[in-house]
Symmetry: C2
Subunit: 502 residues, 2 copies
């Protein structure tokens, strides 16, 4: 049963219904806003109920907008039921039915820079939101929403939505209250500076403004976020982390970085996790993070007293780490701020603070162009997410990747990327398990040699240099390419499973 601490206005109790009732409110053709970010702070009960209704014959196809892809109770359940027409702004490959439908074109997926979504909703560039489903810890007396660990685009979606359905999740720690810092920018011509000058600055409210009238239904649930425990870093990830930390040390030595660096941003996944764990064991102190998502490693950095403040739009504690948080919330709370996604990823703030951005690439070409989304140029692995926001605006933009995939048969350093998300203009540093290539100030012909000799797997270096030399000789130009060979490595891999030409 919900309590007066969770629903702080007696009127709210009248809105409590079963998930099934709330799901019935969602009509065919609705655009539905979904709270949360990655498997953190997203609705579960209502979307599961809706999926069930559709499986049982209700005809509903909706557009879903959110902060990023969220958990299986949304992505897998609704996509498997065939209940999704359109999806944006992000998708990650964890959800099989969503992946299949996006790559078959059954679901129209619009891949966006995550800093753009909230403002494009606010500008009325995207579909009007009929209903926004928001996971909350509590609702205030005035009907404002205390979110759970994922903020994402919820504040703007709630503002623009005609109706709001709240999932009051009793499994989420109530101590999350006070961690959020909610701020919505005006739209032009009424915008002013965002007053964040330090990753620790708080500029907003601890709740999302909503109001009693907009809340249509409230559904009680206790389903946990589906975060999995991360594996320990593998050998290659540790090598990458080592090269990267050595590079940052050399930048401090050259007086191009302060001793406690500048605010760190780190993407998701095993390499990112290894890099942040690398800081736990380093000599760096008083670090700060101004990142999109905060994963388990942030808690290790707090425990190791390495970090002053970590700002993100969500944190995704795995079950083990959630236990640590619940056992001692005050310890962690003072080091964490949860902001809206358009503020964590805002070019204005990333550039002002001088963020050190570290993200993972699928492949990088010899001139520094990068693919972070499409395998073989066609099949979406995951959206661009915030990597473009951070890499374009960072003080230092660092792409990390292993040099190969598919048991060394596929090189991630290629003549030409099959899809480009961050261009040569945005890539400063490339790190693989073989080393760290500093591309700052280099022309394309210098970059190709630096990337190949430092970052490519040795078994592909000759083949890459052979391409470079022939392209320079046979075609020339500022970025020499032999067009009929530029994508041949990928074509060969599609056909024979390897980029090694015999």
């Amino acid at each position: 049963m919900l309590t007066a601490k969770q629903l702080r206005n007696p009127e709210l109790f009248k809105k409590v219904v079963d998930a099934d009732v709330a799901a019935s409110f969602i009509q065919d053709g609705f655009t539905v806003g979904i709270s949360g970010f990655t498997p953190s702070g997203y609705p579960k009960a209502v979307t599961l109920a809706l999926a069930e209704q559709v499986k049982n014959g209700r005809k509903v196809k909706i557009n879903i907008t959110s902060g990023a892809s969220v958990g299986p109770e949304v992505e897998e359940a609704l996509a498997a039921a065939g209940a999704v027409a359109r999806r944006y702004p992000y998708y990650a490959s964890a959800h099989k039915s969503m992946k299949k439908a996006i790559n078959s074109g059954e679901i129209q997926y619009y891949d966006m820079h995550l800093s753009h979504t909230a403002q494009q909703i606010n500008f009325d560039f995207l579909d009007p939101i009929d209903v926004c489903i928001v996971e909350c810890c509590a609702i205030t007396e005035d009907g404002n929403l205390i979110l759970t660990p994922g903020v994402g685009n919820t504040p703007v979606m709630v503002k623009k939505a005609k109706h709001v359905i709240v999932e009051l999740n009793t499994f989420q720690p109530p101590e999350l209250e006070g961690m959020h810092d909610i701020y919505i920018q005006n739209i032009p011509p009424h915008r002013t500076a965002i007053p964040i000058n330090d990753a620790a600055d708080r500029i907003g409210t601890p709740y999302v403004e909503c109001g009693l009238d907009k809340i249509k239904y409230i559904v009680e649930t206790d389903i946990p976020d589906k975060v999995v425990n991360l594996k320990e870093p593998d050998e290659k990830s540790l090598l990458i982390a080592g090269h990267l930390i050595d590079f940052l040390k050399s930048e401090v030595k050259a007086a191009r970085l302060p001793e406690n660096l500048l605010p760190l941003q780190s993407g998701v996944g095993s390499i990112a996790n290894a890099v942040l764990k690398g800081f736990v064991n380093s000599d760096f102190k008083n670090l700060t993070m101004y990142s999109e998502i905060l994963q388990d490693s942030v808690f290790d950095l707090i425990d190791a007293e390495k970090i002053k403040i970590a700002s993100g739009c969500a944190f995704t504690p795995s079950p083990n780490v959630l236990k640590r948080f619940k056992a001692n919330p005050e310890k962690y709370k003072k080091h964490l701020i949860l902001r809206p996604l358009d503020i964590t990823n805002h070019p204005e703030i990333i550039r002002r603070l001088g963020v050190i951005a570290m993200n993972t690439a699928i492949e990088i070409d010899i001139y520094g162009n990068e693919n972070s989304t499409h395998v073989m140029g066609t099949h979406m692995m995951n959206g661009i997410g915030g990597s473009g926001d951070f890499m374009r605006n960072a003080y230092l933009s660092i792409f990390c990747t292993t040099s190969t995939a598919k048991e060394d048969q596929v090189s991630r350093i290629v003549p030409m990327c099959t899809h480009i998300d961050s261009t040569e203009h945005d890539t400063q540093i490339v790190v693989t398990e073989w080393g760290c290539a500093d591309l700052r100030g280099l022309a394309p012909r210098e970059r190709s040699r630096k990337i190949i000799n430092t970052c490519a797997h040795p078994k592909f270096r000759d083949q890459l240099m052979d391409y470079v030399l022939r392209a320079e000789k046979e075609v020339g130009g500022h970025q020499p390419h032999i067009l009929k060979e530029a994508l041949s490595w990928h074509i060969h891999a599609q056909k024979y499973g390897t980029m090694i030409f015999q």
Copy 2:
């Protein structure tokens, strides 16, 4: 003879030398900062003298950094003399020797987002500047510099340079004084918000801080900026301008833009010129510009009382327009602000003001990826310049291009771009002489149809749709491509001069 109005401290007269003496100060291996931006406000006498010295046997090869490419007295003279080792951050194809040397790899050219250059110089990421040559109207009593019509990256380059050589150009109108608004951002972690909330806001000083000690030499000159009179817009450019203005009107009608729009940014060239001229003849009033470069059409907008304020990092009046300015400087001055390039192109301000960005593409692919730099993926036509800064951060990002080149033998709408400068994530609107495609919120399979049916030349539409349909059927994926055909249109054009397959 220079006057006390031009050199406002008697000490300065002792530094006046011939161009030849100043040029002799520049040593082999120097990194030389060059004032100005496009053919506006750049040094001429000293660089011509240096080129002459090199032609006569002096061994000097220098690195040149600047705001953008400038006039022939730098680009052509020094490149033809073989005096350039490295060049950044921009190059445009007007200068044959520079073009040849960049595309042969003889000159190492580093193509940058123009908002990045000043800060990377300030961060010590690029070569330390040995000497900066600055064209001025006057030098103040304290040794501060009153620039001519091009600001570019001069403020930061002067700050970081070991020495400064001033070219005091008596041909430039002294009334330029007071038009500049010079502001240098701190470097992280000491940065704060840039206090511009309106295109008209002035936040800095009318001069570049330098100081008497840093000024090594002063050279008198009266060589005019090499700006050519622009041609009248051709038929296709007028059609593009018409579609674009109709689109903006429909956005006003839909209440997604205010009646006086939002600040305009426009690239350079004949299409950009036609678009701005289109505003002269439109019903729009009280317009503002927050742009990189201000060309002749801005003066027409002022004469037509269409524009309140135009902010840019340079203005490039053609000889005819310069006469208008000289005849009535006060009339134009109150509508013009000249800022540093990193402020005109700053993501923070572009996004805050909600700039409407209009730039020209070389080619655009069926999914909205764009090439603005490399012909056939290899040969540099011109650098990316500010287009990436504006298109990524704009309220509306609009690419304009004719649908074809080479007498309709080459389609500018292609299956896959051979080089990508702005990705699908940054392209909202595409306009050709055939129409305006609004891509906001669309998935790739929707975008391909919209772009082909609205923007491609009718003679290429079937061939494009044939590719799209086969790619969807044979390969599938989120962005279907047949890799072995994706670049075949370009390969065919290289071989046969046409993209029409028979």
